[in-house]
Amino acid sequence: MQYMLLIYDDEKAWARKSPAEVDRIMGEWWAYDDALRKAGVHVAGNALKPTDTATTVRVRNGKTLQTDGPFAETKEQLGGDYLLDVPDLDTAVRWAEKCPAAPFGSIEVRPVMVFDRN
């Protein structure tokens, strides 16, 4: 079964960190990424640029509206995701616990929908 780990944290916290701290945290992320691949559960993964680079698009009455920023202002922002292939929710949760953002951010675990087009 595929699960998406949606990784939320306070993106402003990054700006307050020292370069040494950022290096250490990036090291944790590389190690986590390696562990996912080694376990054979990694399908895809992305890190997103901060929400001040986001553009939100809506089409209303046939007209496209673009707005600067994320779709909603929240205390924690979507900063990245992993798509994992694991047998069940418990296994997905176990990987979410190990995510470097878990101790201070939030990891939303969502099963991925499967469509049968026939």
Partner: protein
């Protein structure tokens, strides 16, 4: 007589028969429907032919066949076709399997999965393990049946769609996964024990269901001291249930209870089970609470109570599982052991922290201590403050009585 026998079988065997059906079909709804059908057949067959020697095995065989029929009707290949037709002969004792494996732990850990909300865990546990109907659960928790039904539908959907397995967690995950299960059992018990509203009889059934669940868990996980601690705790509390209610249903506090109305055999059993748990030398909040309850149970009169020991236990509990009520209870125990002045100091320090602002138990505890100290004017003021915050009718009656005592 027969009806009571049937009722007992239903209560005792529902979860036991459902568990292997869930494993075989991997589908709770299907398993429940099949068992329901088997039960309907039992109700038709048993009054005429007699109750089979192994009713659980009978129900399992008939329900398994019903499950296969349903899978076939859905147009699927039955994944459990082996022995599919044996159910036809299920009325004869000779053809029944000697026993069906006890797989109820799967149901407990699935129903109390931490990814489900606690109200959903409670409803699913009562439904799958105790066989309570949606209407019975709704009545017990005083909510519309539609609310309970929707809660159950949502929980089952999440289990199915999110990939929650009906499985017993591995050794290393067991203590963490046990916590929500124990919390559900204790919540069910308290819902019946503290019942302040609704049909008291219906609600007291919840105590019986919780004790049944705690016994089941203790039998299935005999090496887990907190499971035994929980069973001891609910038995020790339950022993005082009748004595907590006065003639008009009013709440009677511990110190005023008629101790002759305490159920001695329940106290003895609870204490024995607690001793077994403590001997395993892994303490936890349920064991500590049971130990406090056992000390009350051992006291022949209120004056015999070992308050010093109880205060120490509350202190230990406050470190392990801190909560405002535990802190207040510790203060009350200190007051009994060392005098109301010491207790008041604790309560006032606690009030200054603001942790219990707006909670009636804080002024109520102060009021009781002031009353003991003979500071009647301050006590009546505190009782009034407590009454202004308290909504529970039985507790209000108690506070009003005390208020009259200190003002009269």
């Amino acid at each position: 007589m027969l009806a009571r026998g049937l009722e007992r079988i239903y209560r005792d065997e529902w979860g036991r028969v459902l568990a292997p059906l869930v494993r075989l079909t991997g589908d709770l709804d299907l398993a429940e429907d099949a068992l329901q059908e088997a039960w309907a057949r039992a109700l038709a067959a048993w009054p005429r032919g007699g109750i089979p020697q192994r009713p659980a095995a009978w129900l399992f065989v008939v329900a398994r066949r019903a499950a296969i029929d349903r899978l076939r009707r859905r147009g699927r290949e039955a994944p459990l076709a082996a022995g599919a037709d044996e159910g036809a002969a299920a009325a004869s004792n000779a053809d029944l399997p000697a026993d069906i494996p006890d797989e109820r732990l799967r149901l407990i850990f699935g129903a109390c999965h931490p990814a489900l909300s606690q109200p959903a865990q409670v409803a699913l546990t009562l439904r799958t393990l105790c066989g309570l109907t949606t209407e019975e659960i709704a009545r017990a928790f005083i909510e519309p049946a539609a609310t309970t039904a929707q809660r159950l539908v949502r929980a089952k959907r999440k289990i199915r769609e999110a990939g929650i397995r009906w499985e017993v967690p591995g050794r290393e995950d067991l203590p963490a996964r046990l916590e929500p299960a124990l919390a559900v059992v204790y919540l069910v018990f308290n819902e019946g024990y503290l019942a302040a509203s609704g049909d008291a009889l219906v609600r007291h059934d919840l105590c019986a269901e919780a004790i049944r669940l705690a016994r089941m868990l203790a039998a299935l996980l005999p090496e887990e001291p907190e499971v035994l601690g929980l069973l001891a705790l609910v038995l020790l509390h339950d022993a005082r249930r009748e004595a907590r209610r006065g003639r008009d249903g009013e709440f009677v506090p511990l110190e005023e209870q008629d101790r002759a109305r305490w159920d001695r055999s329940e106290i003895d059993e609870g204490t024995r089970i607690l001793d077994r748990a403590v001997a395993m030398r892994r303490r936890g909040p349920y064991q500590i609470q049971a130990a406090i309850s056992a000390l009350h149970g051992a006291a022949r009169t209120p004056d015999d109570t070992d308050w010093r020991q109880i205060a120490l236990l509350y202190g230990a509990l406050a470190r392990l599982a801190p909560s405002p009520t535990v802190a207040l209870n510790e203060a009350a125990a200190i007051a009994m052991a060392e005098g109301p002045e010491e207790g008041l100091k604790r309560v006032d320090a606690f009030a200054a922290s603001g942790a219990l602002a707006g909670y009636h138990l804080l002024p109520a505890a102060r009021a009781d201590l002031l009353r003991r100290r003979g500071r009647r004017a301050e006590a009546s003021e505190a009782y009034r403050a407590a009454l202004a915050l308290c909504r529970n009718a039985r507790e209000r009656a108690y506070l009003e009585r005390r208020l009259t005592e200190v003002t009269g």
